[in-house]
């Protein structure tokens, strides 16, 4: 168990966008032989969620959000490297996931959190970035023989791309080959059901849970 004061400090430093201290804490935890996943799940993920919440309430602004995301990336890289060195990883879940923010949508902070948590939980993640067209998603999924395709949409005007993806999968005869999970601020479980997606993820943690469930059923 990591000292609760250190967990609290790690979370606080992430919210305060103190990249140097975040990096220091991550390295210390790993250097002390403690569980990097515990640090990720109990400090950095709640911290970045708090940053998102403050941004959503108009109490924290884009420059701070970007700096917090930068600190989060540093933390995630350190933790992922540590997990890889330990030998934890894809074999834990066996899931290969292609992730993208859909075409027309340039928002990827939330998607990056999802990617971070998936990697931290041992998934093999192919992050295609933002503003990605359907053909590119399908090509990548076929190329890497993905288990799951995860798409994010922040806008009501772009969430329709998730429906287009489901239609494209059906047209290409690939619907049974890949499971799909959808997320993003305007996306709901009802939307997922309506378009024929296999799952809806409310947040990054829920995404990991849903993919684990899918893999268990496979």
């Amino acid at each position: 168990m990591i000292d609760s004061a250190l967990i609290e400090e790690a979370k606080k430093m992430l919210v305060a966008q103190d990249k140097d201290r975040v990096e220091e804490i991550a390295k210390k935890v790993i250097g002390d032989g403690q569980d990097p996943l515990e640090l990720m799940n109990n400090a950095f993920i709640p911290g970045i969620n708090e940053v998102g919440d403050l941004f959503g309430r108009g109490q924290l602004f884009l420059p701070e959000l970007m700096q917090a995301a930068d600190a989060m990336k540093v933390a995630t890289d350190i933790i992922n490297d540590a997990l890889a060195a330990k030998g934890d990883g894809a074999q834990e879940s066996g899931a290969s996931v292609v992730v993208a923010t859909v075409k027309g949508d340039v928002h990827d902070i939330g998607k990056c959190i999802v990617v971070s948590l998936m990697k931290a939980n041992g998934f093999t993640v192919h992050d295609l970035g933002r503003d990605v067209d359907i053909d590119t998603i399908l090509e990548k999924a076929v190329e890497v023989n993905a288990d799951v395709i995860g798409t994010s949409a922040l806008l009501t005007t772009t969430m329709n791309q998730q429906k287009t993806l489901e239609e494209a999968l059906k047209s290409a005869g690939l619907k049974d080959r890949f499971r799909t999970v959808v997320g993003g601020a305007p996306v709901t479980p009802r939307w997922a059901a309506r378009i024929g997606a296999d799952a809806y993820a409310e947040d990054a943690h829920d995404g990991v849970v849903k993919i684990r469930e899918m893999m268990a059923q496979k």
Binding site: G58, F61, L62, P63, M66, D70, V106, W191
Partner: protein, 348 residues
């Protein structure tokens, strides 16, 4: 037990019991009160809102005495968008003579001030003809749309590219340069249209590109008020609070990032705005009672302190209405009735 048929914010139908309805109303108003640091609805107000939802009529309307000004947003553009073939003046005539509009809005298809500047010589005679063939007051509306001023659409470096590279100071400087250019364009366009006879300039969707966008709107209003003391200026918001894309910009010593509608209203009044258009966002995952209680709470915080008329935006994804291209009449009419009766609105 009687169930109340309503919808989620994404439009899906849902049935609620009376106690579930009241739970959602309480949760919605408390969410707004906590976020905006404003009073929650009183029990009487929530009971009135509950009655509006419990009414089994598909369409509801305001009680006598609550009638208010009705305007249509982006009017001539939206007529064309529905595939009704009409030129812009005909569209305004349809809104006025067939659809009961009390004010009209002329606008260009791009709906941003910047691209209107080079075509002003086409917009001016059109506005003059519109004024000659209609009776209601006409506004000329467009957005500050600061996105038009950064690359690839404008001259300044793109803050959305600079920020992820950690170039925060450079991104902020780019926003500041964009504000100056946008103000020049908006003042030029508004001046031309006002001198062509328009009754009111609508600075619409102010803050859509964040705090710099809001600053451009406020500065424009201030300049126009000084230049034309009798000009009508409406400012419509883009969301329930101003996003802090720059984060440090101020107007009259007040930081704009994070300001909710009632706080922006105070600055808009100082800048010389004389109609304020409120916007409250709809959550797709919550019910319409939750969303509408929230919208009423935020809007009431504006009408309680306003010295100028408040015209609330009620439409796709705002004002408690579901996220639909063609909004359902059961929700739209309930949102209209609730906001007008509980917030003493001057217009929709």
């Amino acid at each position: 037990m009687t169930k109340i048929l309503t919808r989620y914010g994404d439009g899906s139908a849902v049935e609620l019991t009376e106690s579930e309805l009241m739970e959602d109303l309480i949760a919605g108003t408390e969410d707004a009160a906590e976020r905006g640091n404003i009073p929650a609805m009183t029990q009487d107000e929530m009971d009135h809102l509950a009655d509006i939802f419990k009414c089994t009529h598909r369409v509801v309307g305001v009680d006598p005495g609550y009638e208010c000004v009705l305007s249509y947003d982006g009017a001539p553009i939206k007529m064309l968008r529905t595939n009704v073939t009409s030129d812009r003046i005909t569209a305004l005539q349809i809104y006025e003579k067939l659809m009961g509009a009390d004010t009209l809005e002329m606008g260009f298809v791009d709906y941003s001030y910047k691209p209107i500047k080079p075509i002003l010589t086409f917009e001016e005679p059109l506005m003059e003809q519109a004024l000659l063939t209609t009776t209601a007051p006409i506004m000329y509306g467009a957005q500050p749309n600061l996105g038009r001023y950064s690359q690839p659409d404008g001259p300044f470096p793109n803050p959305a590219e600079l920020m992820p590279m950690g170039k925060i100071k450079e991104a902020q400087e780019s926003y500041e340069l964009a504000v100056d250019e946008a103000v020049k364009d908006m003042v030029d366009v508004a001046s031309s249209m006002y001198e062509s006879g328009v009754d009111c300039i609508l600075l619409d969707t102010v803050g859509a590109a964040g705090d710099a966008d809001a600053l451009a709107g406020l500065r424009t209003a201030e300049i126009l008020r000084e230049k034309y003391p009798d000009i009508g200026i409406e400012m419509g918001m883009a969301g329930e609070f101003v996003l802090g894309m720059h984060g440090a910009l101020e107007y009259e010593g007040v930081r704009l990032a994070g300001l909710y509608n009632h706080q922006m209203l105070e600055l808009a009044q100082k800048a010389g705005v004389n109609i304020f258009g409120t916007v409250m966002n709809t959550s797709t995952t919550e019910s319409t009672p939750w969303n509408l209680a929230r919208a009423v709470t935020f809007t009431k915080a504006c009408s309680d302190i306003a010295d100028i008329p408040i015209h609330a935006n009620i439409g796709m994804g705002v004002g408690g209405v579901t996220v639909h291209d063609h909004t359902p009449i059961d929700v739209t009419s309930r949102a209209s009735k609730a906001l007008v009766e509980l917030c003493n609105l001057d217009g929709l």
